[in-house]
Structure formats: structure tokens, C-alpha cells
Amino acid sequence: MMDISLIFKIAGVGIIVILINKVLEASGKGDYAVLTNLTGILIVLMMVIDLVSKLFNAVRTMFQL
């Protein structure tokens, strides 16, 4: 069973990234807003990359590859 807290973590990061994005865009720093979005995506990716690799391993073992 997957750990449910990871979903909440990702949701939290998402909310905060949206907040930072809005604030940065409101003060006319659009390029930093894009950078923040990318950082947010990267952070979330780092969180799930372990699970993704586990999934691939599971698929591989399932089909005996």
C-alpha cells in the first residue's frame, strides 16, 4: 500500500508554488515565476522518482524482462 502522506506533501508543495507564482507575477517578475514553477516541478519529481522506479521494477518483474 502506497504511503498516503506523499500525496499531501505534493499537494502542499503545489499550493505553495502557486502562491509564490502569483506573488511574483503580481510584482512583475514573470521570469522568476517561471523559474519557481520549474523548481516546484523538480521538487515534486524528486519526491516521486523513487516510486516511479519501483513501478518500472514491478512491471519488469511482472513480465519477467
Binding site: S5, K9, G12, V13, I16, V17, L19, I20, V23, L24, A26, S27, G28, K29, I43, M47
Partner: protein
Amino acid sequence: MLKILGYIMIIFASTGIGFTYGGIFKKRVEQLKEMQRCIHQLQNEIMYTHTPLPDAILNTALKSIDPIKDVFKDISSMLYSNSVDNVYEAFKCAFSDKREILSLKNEDISAILDLSKTLGESDIEGQKRMFSLTLDNIKNQIEVSKIAMNKNLKMYRCLGFSLGAVIVIISV
């Protein structure tokens, strides 16, 4: 329990950093306003009471608030002790000494340094013109810094808290 305390500390610290960083913009506006008031007063000292420059600057310093007070006091003491060649040099030394405690930007300081180039080196009319030019410049700087403050103050406060929250969420 200890972990939660750590998280709370991280959030408070990052919010504090955000507030302090945003405060620089607020301080700049305050210091520019104080500087404008000081230059008005210096103008009065020179135009109406014809006070000698070191006395006029000292009088201005006594009626102003920190950190502008320290700058004017330094300038006046330099002029009293004759340790500098001209007024411009005294202003330049004082401003470069107090650079760390002032939140003023280079363009604000250069507007005031322009004034110091003519202080005590021309007649009353010439100085009057230079004072009005400097006051105009400072007024413009105040407007610019106010716009920057409105833009950045909220942003840095929000960013401080948000980054703290991100750190806490990631490390939970």
C-alpha cells in the same frame, strides 16, 4: 515534539528573513524623506541665517534622526577639523563610511554628492538653484522608491514564509 519545534523555528526564521529584506525598501523611503527634510533645513540655515557650513551641517544633524544624523555629524566634524580638502570629499567620506548602515542606493547618494560639489563654492543664488535641483532629484527618488516598496515589500514577506513552508513540507 522536538521536530515540530524545529519546523516552527524554520517557518519563523524564513518569515523573519523575508520581513527584514522587505524592510530595506521601507527604510530607504524613510531615509530619503529624512534626507529631504535635512536638505530643506540646511537650505534654510544657509539662505536665511547665513550660518557657516560646518555649523549649519551640525545644526541639521542635531535636529535629524539616525542614521542620517551620524552622517551629518561626521561631515561637520570633518569640516571642523579641516581633515579634508573640500566639502565634496567630506560628504563622500562620510557616505562611504556609513554605507552599511544606510539603506540608500547609489543614485540617491550621488544626488546628494552633486549638491555637495557646489556647497560653499558659489554665491547664494547658485546654491539656491542647486538646492532646488537636488530636492527635485530626491523627490523623484522618493517616488521611485515608493513604487519599488509597494511592489517588493509584500512580495518578500510572502516569499519568506512560502520558502520556509516548502522546506518544512519537503522535510516532513
